[in-house]
């Protein structure tokens, strides 16, 4: 088993200009480990939406790589998005789920299906052929440079242990402010691509 923070640090080393759509604690930790105006968490008030939001971005910006950093509880709320992603098959989408078997943000209650269900099998059966699962940090570190260069859609399960989040939720967090910052950052990026 791995720690989420360790996995995200490895991923951050291989980030170039990817747009990263986070969910819950994975997204929050990511913002500390790989800060960028191209990070965004759309799920502050609608858990589970991140994979769909990332798919929309991937369809709109086929020339840009989109990474979705999902949680297991979040993906369970939107399992159908795996079917939709497989059907649309965007080459530029990497969907990563940190699986700790817990609703960590709400008090570590076990997720439904923890220990009996396999996200990787579900993703493969949905039609995402490039589905991976890692429970060993060295293997993940070895494989990730190759995987992030593959054509998508790519689905990666990271089996992690419950860890301490790097930051607590801030009561000051302004969803709307983060929305405007992200939109402006994208407009700069899209503008540069078009010009």
């Amino acid at each position: 088993m791995m720690k989420r923070e360790e996995c995200l640090r490895v991923l951050a080393e291989h980030r170039s200009n990817e747009i990263v759509i986070g969910a819950m604690l994975s997204g929050r930790d990511w913002e500390i480990l790989s800060p960028s105006d191209l990070n965004f968490r759309p799920d502050a008030s609608a858990m589970g939406i991140s994979s769909s939001f990332g798919l929309g971005l991937a369809l709109a910006l086929p020339h840009r790589r989109i990474i979705v950093l999902d949680g297991d509880g979040s993906l369970l709320m939107n399992l159908g998005s795996l079917v939709t992603i497989a059907h649309l098959a965007p080459k530029n989408l990497i969907h990563i789920v940190c699986e700790n078997g817990k609703y960590e943000a709400s008090g570590n209650q076990p997720t439904v299906g923890a220990g009996t269900m396999s996200f990787r099998s579900i993703a493969k059966a949905a039609g995402i052929d490039k589905s991976y699962e890692f429970d060993n940090l060295d293997n993940f570190r070895d494989e990730i440079p190759r995987i992030v260069k593959e054509d998508g859609p790519i689905f990666i399960v990271l089996k992690v242990i419950k860890g301490e989040p790097l930051a607590q939720a801030s009561s000051e967090f302004s969803f709307l402010e983060s929305r405007h910052r992200f939109k402006r950052a994208l407009e700069r990026e899209i503008g540069e691509i078009n010009s």
Partner: protein, 165 residues
């Protein structure tokens, strides 16, 4: 079989290239046309909440889209409509077949019809009616409203507006 539909033409006139959808009997004539139109990228989804997220992502990527669903689907997607589309000020255009309203003959559709407008009002989502083919301008107006005020807007589609004569 018709290879054009006034609603499809109107969407294209508005610059919409992505249509995110789940079928409905009333929507079927429009659905057939959308699937065949080479200028439209059809994004079929399994659940309407996905559609809200996808349309939001498309907007951030600077693409106009429409979410074409039945009112049952709008009701199923209420948390995402509230927590993503309204809260993030997404100019989301929804075209919603208004089942359980004038023109519907199935009793079991009416609970949805009854709840549709009160729920949209509770979410503070403005809506237009497109009851007859001559109301087609409602789509352009709704999209203008959505982008001017950066808000989701619904167009409630009546049966007659969806049938192709």
């Amino acid at each position: 079989m018709a290879d054009s539909h006034p609603i499809c033409e109107e969407l294209k006139k508005c610059g919409i290239r992505f249509v995110v959808t789940i079928p409905d009997v009333w929507l079927a004539p429009l659905d057939r046309v959308l699937r065949k139109d080479p200028e439209i990228t059809l994004v079929p989804v399994a659940r309407e909440e996905e559609g809200v997220g996808i349309c939001a992502g498309l907007y951030f990527g600077n693409q106009k889209s429409a979410l074409v669903i039945q009112n049952a689907g709008m009701l199923a997607a209420v948390n995402s409509l509230n927590g993503v589309a309204v809260e993030l000020q997404i100019p989301l255009l929804m075209l919603i077949s208004y089942r359980g309203m004038v023109g519907d003959t199935y009793r079991y559709q009416f609970p949805k019809g009854k709840a549709t407008e009160p729920v949209l009002r509770a979410l503070d989502i403005p809506y237009y009616h497109l009851r007859q083919p001559e109301d087609i301008g409602a789509i352009t107006k709704a999209l203008q409203y959505a982008y001017t005020c950066s808000t989701p807007v619904a167009v409630l589609l009546g049966k007659e507006a969806l049938e192709i004569s």
